[in-house]
Symmetry: C2
Subunit: 341 residues, 2 copies
DNA sequence: ATGAAAGCGCTAACAT
DNA sequence: ATGTTAGCGCTTTCAT
């Protein structure tokens, strides 16, 4: 059996020697590929376990094969992306799946708009990720075409208008549809909406769902009841004030953050929720449940979406399916007090 | 000058050929090392810029040198670590510094206690990170000694009782001291505290600071006014109820989450903040400012700590300083309404 | 100042 | 079923 070298630099060569086989045989055992005798397999496995050997990722990569490293590329730019629960949950889901598949996770986070091209180049050229999960809700994300022409396997988190790309998205249209339908069922008449940033698919799709719900019930879409904002709380506050001037009795907010701002605005003008004005959000952030009154909202299975994306990527990296997968994950209506009894 | 190969696989060989020099010279230019004529340097640089060439990380790694990849290892186990603003801010700081130093970031996130050893082995053996930032607030973290014996450069985020390790920590003792001193100055008499999880240095140090502040003012430390909890909101709620039974008129909470729970408890028993009971937190999470009343708290420069850790790691990786650095970052008292006028 | 050549640890033909 | 060997893209002696 021999003795273990007490250095940290354990190589496949060492393992092979300790197991009394050739490097190739050891390699075959590790990759569970090719024909190896049971005896050889057992010996090698034993040595691997005793030593805790892990093959050198760089060497693996260099032979042109899998590194077992996948990347996550957050292309949305912000100084505080991760403080947004959306991204932290996404990342948790991604990390969880990465662990399950024994993949190492590399994180690409931007801090400046100007970095995006350089970062993309690095990801592609450095060539040490097997594939990449790209978080992208913006229309016309410049990263996607580059990834395509580089031939690097990738899955988008957020939908894309290109039939050839793989993506996982929340079903925003139906989520919004459900939200607004709920308000209608509750008897509200003048239902306004505060949108997210409109260069963003989530915002676009949620507005679409809002309109659909009204139309299906034979109601007109009143443009004065649509306030175009962005996804943050301050925007919710300001735009809610505008909608209140239009005498809305219910507001569909395109995000919980918007909803929170809107709730403040409603309180500030002395109206009660849901008695005078009902409100429904989107996301089901942690505070939604703890708001006063608790906020009715649409829950996205963000974490699961992150997992799904990695699973899809893994399939692509290992099997290269012929058809691109495009998954729309259903959302869930969470009814709380802010939309009445 | 030649034409650019339109493949994605640009190698140093190609660059050299395009620039009309040898691979070695091109390499020297890229690493800004060794003697190269101005002319050769210019030519190579031009080709590099035109092509957007990035050296293959795996090949670099394989020659035994830097990969420009650093890791972050979050050793605290939780299903939802990243949802904790502490970690997301930390990660943002780390990512920002990594970008500045042109380092790629690899994220090691646990989902299960049992994974920790396997993950550590992977980090060490895989050998593709130049160094690693380890988030560790627990006492006796098993990862540290392994990293030491593996000779992998690392910096701990959180303090460690080992004179040989590099760390960046918030000055929790002084932070707590400042918090409690503030309560004393405001005239509060029976000041209780709710601690964090006591197998954790932050919790230990904050309790220490609490005791110090009382002693310095010649006050006795009353053990019935110390409620041992953990860092979450529910614990804050339950332990605040206990302290209220002891007729405290002020509470120092070891975290803002605890403080939030405590505020709920105070309201629930019909007392007013700060009139009947004052409360001060620790962390300055986003909601602290927006709480009702706004929460006085101790701000930790978490993001900056993350940056600092990467900077330290970078120094170690590039220069190997002889002395370990141990940095304690000062905290800041943020006075708001929850501790009175 | 520059080029030629060896070698990092692995995988994948190609023998046997 | 197993071993031998070439090479992945770089860095680094060692020549020149």
């Amino acid at each position: 059996m021999g003795t273990l070298p007490k250095t940290n630099k354990l190589t496949l060569e060492n393992i092979a020697e300790l197991a009394g086989v050739s490097r190739s045989t050891a390699s075959r055992v590790l990759r569970n590929q090719g024909s190896v005798s049971k005896k050889a397999r057992t010996k090698v496995m034993r040595v691997v376990e005793e030593t805790g050997f892990q093959p050198n990722a760089a060497a693996r990569s260099l032979t042109g094969h899998r590194t077992n490293i996948i990347g996550v590329f957050i292309t949305e730019i912000a100084q505080a992306v991760l403080s947004d629960p959306y991204f932290s949950k996404l990342l948790e889901g991604v990390a969880e799946a990465a662990n399950e598949y024994d993949q190492t996770l590399t994180l690409f986070l931007l801090h400046d708009t100007s970095d995006i091209n350089q970062m993309t180049t690095r990801i592609i050229q450095n060539a040490f990720v097997d594939g990449i999960v790209v978080s992208s809700t913006a229309k016309d994300n410049p990263v996607i075409p580059r990834l395509q022409s580089a031939n690097l396997p990738f899955v988008v988190l957020g939908r894309i208008d290109d039939a050839n790309v793989n993506y996982v998205d929340a079903d925003n249209v139906n989520g919004a549809f459900t939200a607004v339908s709920h308000l209608i069922r509750q008897g509200y008449q003048r239902i306004g909406t505060i949108t997210g940033t409109m260069n963003n698919y989530s915002a676009i799709d949620r507005l679409e769902g809002y309109k659909n719900a009204l139309r299906v019930r034979g109601r007109a879409v009143d443009p004065t009841l649509i306030a175009y904002g962005d996804f943050v709380m301050d925007s919710g506050y300001a735009n809610a004030k505008k909608l209140l001037e239009q005498n809305v009795d219910a507001i569909f907010a395109a995000s919980d953050s918007i909803a929170l701002g809107a709730m403040r605005a409603i309180e500030d003008v002395g109206l009660r929720i849901p008695h005078d004005v009902a409100i429904i959000g989107f996301d089901d952030l942690q505070f939604a449940e703890k708001a006063n009154p608790p906020l009715t909202t649409i829950r996205q299975p963000i974490r699961r979406m992150g997992k799904l994306a990695v699973e899809m990527l893994h399939d692509i990296v290992t099997n290269k399916p012929l058809q691109p997968s495009r998954v729309s994950v259903p959302t869930e209506l969470i009814v709380r007090a802010s939309t009445g009894g």
